[in-house]
Amino acid sequence: MRRKSALAAAATAALAMVLSACGGGGGTPQQPAQSASGGAAQPAFNASLTGVYNPSTKKGGTIKAAHSSDWDSLDPADTYYGYSFNFGRLYWRTLTTYKTGPGPDGNQVVPDLAEGLGEPSPDGKTWTYKLRAGLKFEDGTPITAKDVAYAVARSYDKETFPHGPSYLNELLAWPKDFKGVYKTPDVDYKSAVEATDDTTVVFHLVKPFASMDYIVQMPMTAPVPKDKDTGAKYREHVISSGPYKFETNETGKRFTLVRNDQWDASTDPNRPALPDKWEVQLNVNADDLDNQLMSGSIQLDIPGTGMQPAALGKVLPDPALKARTDNPTIQRLWYISVIPDNKPLDNVECRKAVMFAADRVANQTAYGGPVAGGEIATNVMPPGIVGQEKFDLYQTPENKGDVEKAKQALAACGQPNGFETTMTFRADRPREKALAEAMQQALSKAGIKLTLKGFPASSYFSDYAGNVDYVKKNGIGLATHGWGSDWPDGYGFMQAIVDSRTIRPAGNYNLSVKNAEVDKLIDQAAGELDATARAKLWVDVDKKVMEDASILPVVWAKALLMRGQGVTNIAYNEGQQMYDYVLLGAE
């Protein structure tokens, strides 16, 4: 059992039993609001991590939500934020989705538009999904497999939809001359995705791939009616396949969702669809948003990445406010790339010296401590990833660093007197600045001298720490980074930051892990259809990376989330890594 067991103890035993009884990943319709027993409405810290807080089946009312910034896009083909995937399920439906509700089961995918999970061919290269009956768009036209296949095909056009994930671009066997549904409207894309009849969608992959059910929970599979598709302008009015549709949409300011009367609850086991209306305000001042969340004039913080430092100081010491919060560990790792491009860090022993010299406690403090920052990370994969194993190759007393071991490693590296290198961080992020300073201090004890360089976040990856040439020319040895999981398995978390074949000239999150053995293990794991064996292989990848000493893990991030006032049915979902937005209701 993972560390969630400790949290589970806080919830009622009955609730935990009900939830675990729901496990198994089948398409069993469930209504968490009904399964939860009363009494949970008593505010308590971490109340919605393991149970549904304030359960209700009451329909009606409005939920007032706010976002401190703006969506990348409301178009299902053009969005790549966790909150967007989560919130989007109010107006779209995908082939699969995370099982709604609290607890570890939230990591599992369950069917949504599909009747059941995907059927892989024995070679793992063909996946087939069968659609439910009675599905309709908001205008009343039936949703067919063709609409799903078309949505997948349109998402291929990265010129029109540059924000969305490109997993399907790389996984599916697209025709050579296919440039997207707009530029090459006559090219048949059935070699990649096809509707073999009105209810059957078939994906053809270029290589065996086991995590397909996780991929198709992403919004690229949300159906789009071809005759309503307006390309880059579709974001202005997305045609709903879910329980709500757009009433108004003022770009950059606000939008509202109202009930979609064509959505049939009997086709949808996952969404109770309680409120009548959702009002979303955009670009709200982040500190004011926290204040409004506390006072009740805003009920939901859309990004769900936690409260601002200013609010933490107010919430944590106040028992009444703290009781309204949850403090989950999210599937995000804050880490430092130890880049082997420049001497002497090309030598693994010198990288190990950095591992040993780092003061993990000071690093955790830099990130905000155990509540606001996160748990000290000892390896790459965070808890919460299916099959994750916690291990520590570079143990030091009380996690505070070991100068002796660091010096031994330096000697083995041929640098007994230490060396000098440069560390980059995002200058507009105080935590990263504090981390860089903590590293500078800790490493200096072992004789490693760091020069710190801060850069603006907006061009950090494009021009500086993620730019291959810049890093090589400027002798960058260490760089602060963060990575969140796309879905809770090894591939979803690790592939983007440890596969050397994803490195491109600019915009990289990973410039340090360049290990052929790691790449080989990744391919092996990705194609392994047996879940247990697959999970084991990803742990091997994790270990290989840590042996390579090219990633120094800092913390597995935690967020402090606040439950909105007057909101019912609040549960933290492990798959979404935030409150499960489709469950929420208004008092």
Partner: protein, 337 residues
């Protein structure tokens, strides 16, 4: 007079061109000095972990492979003749003045600017009325009761007003008056004037006061200093010797002269403000030009940055022109020269 105005307008146009070139330069040329490639620029406008193909397509679509001069020319041409926008499923005509389409949201910039102007205007006008009336009144009273308790209190408050940043006073007033006492609406409230004038004023009350507090402080101090100076002038003695009532001496003779430098300041302040009250709009989440500017810069959204910078620069240029013309109206001595 007419030639003067024409000369000033030509100067204003030249300044707008310089502003646009500098903004463009900061955006493209400076990163190039740092070694940024077109792909590096484009990687700001893609989703996370985008493939090199995606970045290449976006760089191509945004025209980053063309020389900067060509890109600048295209931008300027769009303002005068309009442009075409390919949204995948079709091509849209963007009529002049076309400030291009957002690199992020794909929305045309000009309608956004037009849409946001009323918010900023509302904020600026209401605050301006408050701060001019309040600041000048306090300044006059302080000057007349120099050294009194009122003078010390108001000048102390004025000092606080000048020193405290809006994101602080704004946030504190929200916490007290909106979330504590419930007298004012929460941040983000805005109702267009045409929709409901009473609600418009109610929603903007706190932002007005916060913004006016900052400016009123400056104006109170300036008015006080100006009044102390003019009330010692010989013509004030003359006015009194004529038997004029003291109130008229103060307002018609004293204040009239003291207001001239304030008018200049006001013109520039107001011009800057209608180009975007950045801090107030961000603090109170008001969808005006200032918020737009901050979001555009945060997202490095060049067309939006260019649009909002040019509109703001235009306002400042026009405001300073209006001030110069008004100056001649206010001070007859200026007219000769």
């Amino acid at each position: 007079m007419l030639t003067y105005i024409i000369r000033r307008l030509i100067g204003a146009l030249a300044m707008l061109i310089v502003v646009s070139m500098v903004t463009f330069g900061i955006f493209f040329v400076v990163p190039q000095w740092a070694g940024a490639t077109p792909e590096a620029l484009a990687s700001r406008y893609v989703g996370r972990a985008a493939t090199p193909e995606t970045v290449h397509l976006v760089a191509e679509r945004l025209g980053f492979y063309d020389p900067v001069v060509v890109q600048y020319g295209r931008f300027v041409k769009g303002i005068f003749t309009g442009a075409q926008y390919d949204y995948g499923a079709g091509v849209e005509q963007c009529p002049a003045p076309c400030f291009g389409y957002s690199f992020i949201s794909g929305q045309p910039v000009w309608p956004d600017l037009v849409d946001r102007m009323p918010v900023t205007f509302s904020l600026a006008i209401g605050a301006a009325i408050l701060w001019v009336l309040g600041g000048v009144a306090i300044g006059v009273l302080s000057a007349l009761r120099r050294g009194s308790f009122f003078d010390r209190l108001s000048m102390g408050t004025a000092l606080a007003g000048v020193s405290l940043p809006i994101f602080f006073t704004g946030m504190v007033s929200l916490v007290i008056f909106s979330y504590g006492l419930g007298w004012t609406p929460p941040g983000g409230a805005y109702t267009p004037l045409a929709e409901n004038p009473a609600l418009w004023a109610y929603d903007l009350l706190l932002p007005w006061i916060t913004l006016a507090f900052l400016f009123a402080a400056t104006y109170a101090r300036l008015t006080r200093a100006g009044m102390l100076e003019t009330m010692g002038e010989d013509y004030i003695r003359t006015a009194r010797a004529k038997g004029l009532k003291e109130r008229e001496v103060i307002v018609k003779h004293g204040l009239r002269a003291a207001l001239t430098p304030i008018l200049t300041l006001f013109g520039i302040d107001f011009g800057l403000l209608i180009g975007g009250a950045v801090l107030t709009e961000t603090t109170y989440t008001l969808p005006g030009l200032g918020q737009y500017a901050i979001l555009a810069i945060r997202n490095q959204d060049l067309p939006q940055v260019m649009g909002v910078v040019l509109v703001a620069a235009l306002f400042v240029v026009v405001a300073s022109l209006v001030v110069d013309l008004l100056y001649a109206v206010v001070d007859p001595r200026v007219r000769l020269s």
